[in-house]
């Protein structure tokens, strides 16, 4: 690992000031950042440790508002009694207990992707400024089944799809104070000029994530598919939520993780469910619609089958 200087800050203002310096990174739990540094995928000159900013830690919950500070660990979030069930489901199989004790909410949302070409210091792929994507002709069993872009990496976070299914907003620090935007907007497919999985800049500071009252009352569930019982990034995951009005689904959200550059929604599939009673046939139709436009690569056609089944099961679970 390259040597770096280190500063621990006590306020968001201090952090924001230091983060403006060149080649400087914010460190929270360090579970992703340090891995990237050890592999020399990033070599920051300075680290700004934000763990001393008390205001970024903890959960405030009312009937109408659920707010979790960016520095709250995944373990703390999973254990809190006011945390929505879907979030608890998403965290139950996220990483491992040790990692959940260190990993923070903010870090989880902006962690880098797990494409093995990206993570290998010895492969210079498109996302790292190279001429082309190495996964397209390489081993792409875990890669994207949607999307057209050059890069075929997939979203690694378990938390992001679950939060987006609850229309979560993310609270960012600006020079003027705070600014909120829908969490879904953080995620953008990389482009030739912006070779990054999200819109958060190195000098941005996430303060918190918020879920509004409506969404808190929705039925919601999260399903994750792995090839072993635990300790694997999702091969496919599905977060679904809906309000049930006299047995009919409203405000339907179906968000798939690990299938595209960004948490993936298929509006037409959600519309198929809106206003309808949930039963086996409907769930299957929604699932079929969800995967209709999937375009798997050479090695990952199975992910389409898995996704179809996860969507079907998630939709059925919304009934309960």
């Amino acid at each position: 690992m390259k040597s770096f200087s280190y500063a621990k800050v006590a306020t968001a203002e201090e952090a924001a000031g230091l983060l403006k310096q060149r080649n400087t990174r914010l460190i929270a739990g360090g579970t992703d950042l340090l891995g990237l540094m050890k592999e020399r995928l990033i070599e920051p000159d300075r680290l700004v440790d934000v763990n001393g900013i008390a205001q970024l830690r903890g959960i405030t919950a009312t009937k109408e508002n659920f707010r979790v500070g960016a520095l709250t660990t995944l373990a703390e979030l999973a254990a809190h009694q006011a945390t929505p069930l879907i979030i608890k489901e998403a965290l139950a199989d996220a990483a491992t207990p040790q990692l959940r004790n260190m990993a923070t909410v903010g870090g989880n949302l902006v962690q880098r992707n797990r494409c093995w070409y990206f993570r290998s210091a010895e492969h210079r792929c498109w996302l790292k400024g190279g001429p082309r994507c190495l996964a397209v002709d390489g081993d792409n069993r875990y890669h994207a089944i949607y999307g057209e872009g050059e890069c075929r990496q997939v979203t690694p976070s378990d938390l992001a799809p679950a939060l987006i299914a609850l229309d979560a907003t993310v609270v960012m620090r600006t020079d003027e104070g705070e600014d909120s935007l829908p969490l879904a907007q953080l995620y953008v497919a990389p482009t030739a000029r912006h070779r990054r999985e999200h819109a958060v800049g190195d000098d941005d500071l996430i303060l918190a994530v918020r879920i509004g009252g409506d969404a808190l009352r929705r039925h919601a569930t999260y399903l994750k598919f792995m090839e072993r019982a635990t300790w694997q990034f999702a091969v496919v995951s599905v977060a679904a939520s809906a309000r049930l009005v006299e047995g009919r689904a409203q405000d339907v959200r179906i968000v798939a993780g690990a299938v595209a550059n960004i948490p993936w929604r298929v509006k037409a599939a959600e519309d198929l469910l809106a206003g309808e009673k949930i039963d086996d046939a409907r769930a299957l139709a929604v699932a079929e619609r969800f995967v209709r436009d999937a375009r798997p690569l050479r090695d990952n056609a199975y992910k389409v089958a898995v996704l179809r089944e996860l969507v079907r099961r998630a939709v059925l679970r919304l009934k309960d």
Partner: protein
Amino acid sequence: MPSARVVKNRTEFEGKIYEELALVQGADIPAWSADAELRHVGRSRLRVDGPQRVSGRARYTTDLMLPGMLHARVVRSPHPHARVIRVDAKRALALAGVRSVVDRTSAPELFDEEVHYVGAPVAVVVGETEEIAADAAHLVEIEYESLPFVVDLEEAIADRTRVQRKESYSRGDARRGFREADIVVDARYTTSTQLHNCLEPHGAVAQWDGERLTLWESTQAMFDVRKGVAKAIRARLDDVRVICDYMGGGFGSKLGHGHYSEIAAVLAKRLGRPIRCVMDRREENLVTGNRSATVQRVRVGATKDGKLTALEHVAWSGTGTEDGWVASTTGPSNGLYEVANVRSEQFLVLTNTGPFSAFRAPGYVEGTFALESAMDELADKLALDPLALRRKNYAKLDPQSGKHYSLKRLDQCYSRGAELAGWSRRKAGGTAGRHAYLRRGMGVSTQVWGGGGGPPAYATIHLNADGTAIVRAGLQDIGSGTKTAIAQIAAEELSLPLERVRLSIGETDAPYGPASGGSMTTASLGPAVRLAAVDVRRQLLEVAAGLMEVRASEIHLTDGHAVAGRGGKKLALDEVFSKLQNYTVIGRGSRHPNPEDVRLRSFGAHFAEVEVDIRTGAVRVLKIVAVHQIGRIVNPLNAKSQVEGGVTQALGYAVSEGRVLDRLSGHVMNANLEDYKIPTVKDVPDIVVEFVPDLDRRANNLGGIGLGEPPIIPTAAAIANAVANACGARVRTLPITPARVLEALRR
């Protein structure tokens, strides 16, 4: 003193039979009889070194920090095949704390000009700390000329220059056998490269004292390390001392010295400081060995009623850059069933990938998957119960030698296993699970293996003035609990409590001991330890007889007492010890040769119950029943752990583990514990373990043979067969991933 003589002995090691000369002393004794009242042997005992291991007090090679020690990091090739043109160490040497950078020009004995796989060593950096060395390794600039390469096994098989025939076997006339068959199964199986991923990485620490080298090394075979290193650095055997106190797993990958041992030894001498060279996790996955990937073709012919008429097994094993030997994948086909006509061939295939090495039952694990899958495919075609088909072709005699077995109770493994697994619940076509998309199934598979051990193996026992004993032997405990078993054997004959027996092992200045490999450690060394203990006991009885004023032949030892046969005179051993002042009773024992007229082999059967999600292809293994026959079990608790570990490692092999190679760059893409998926504790099913109680009295004076490898052999096929039973998906490729299950379901 007993006389020494040289004997010829046949030992089966890692699936191959070796004939060697060995020196033995005195005469052997018979195994304890089935009704002998034993106080230690055959009883469950906690590991004698358990507290050290779990509290962190046990010192492993990687923990060693010697004063003045320097750290070596290897600079490795990013190319699967290349010529090293130039190594420029200027920038690395400029880093504070870097002591030396060595490459081919300065150490031709350590590096080749051409590299043949990603991870092949090109240079080594020595620094004051591990971190400095690692940082400097990145600053070494190397110019390569890339050369053509192949990393894919199937691609390499198509290239004749990369394929060598290493073994072939036949009996009878396979062609005629297939003509006589009513039904033939002809199937192709493939298995992935399995990586050992020992918890403790490979590595060595070297320190010189004048011409004498001390080498701490994490190894399963201290004496082979000594021999290999002495040869490499042209030293005398007595100038090299290898130490391995504790080790954290080897599974076959630590059976000889490594490149790191040579680096440590050579550079420690040059720099006059101790050198530590220990691999990191990535190196563990690239350069320290693996189980060969295989492509196998199995043809089985049988009559309508299930009698095998012919069996043909051809295996191609990818050995990476290792072109010396290949594991015996066809071994199980050659020796498991009674079939008159057999033909098999074993090919070695070279690829530009890290060299393979032994891996827990090398070859037999891969081959049993293919053979026992094919047997089930045959049973399916014949509409026979898979167990009935196996029974029908049961070999009473060893099909290869025609000899009797010293013990064969495979039939009991089948029947007891079937009972424990509830085999009668098995239905052709599987059974329903909780949901319409869940199917349940059961499968069985068989294992055959060696593990009889043999000479040479020696031990001495010193009895101290306070009645404690020290067993000295050139033994390393790979983590399987050998130490505990050895202590139990000594305590048994010495009639001492277990705590009074200490082991002095883990270094090569001790009497020669066998490798911890080939399932042969206890079966090789245990009998020698027993004889050493008997030797001590004999001397002790002579002393006691003198004190008791009776003849030595009239007394015996029980429960820490010398007891006279007649008159009931009794003398506590502690009293004997206290009467003597400073003394050492020294007992010696050696391992005697194996019987010539019988074949020593272990047998076992595993039954798997699985649940398959036919929509996602997910396989959940619910239960494994493992019943083995190895003769006497020295420590049932340890033996059970051994089986559980084997099953778990096999579970990974069956459903989740496999090295992923990028065909275009030749790199291993999952050289870490996140992407290389070893089963977690949540994946491990209910494992039911039993042993056939019969003793293997001909095997050796313990009456039992080894268990290290047998439990990893049959599991993958049992799982594959259970998956096929559950949902009709016959997956002929390991690991059985969801993708492969879905693909098989579509066929």
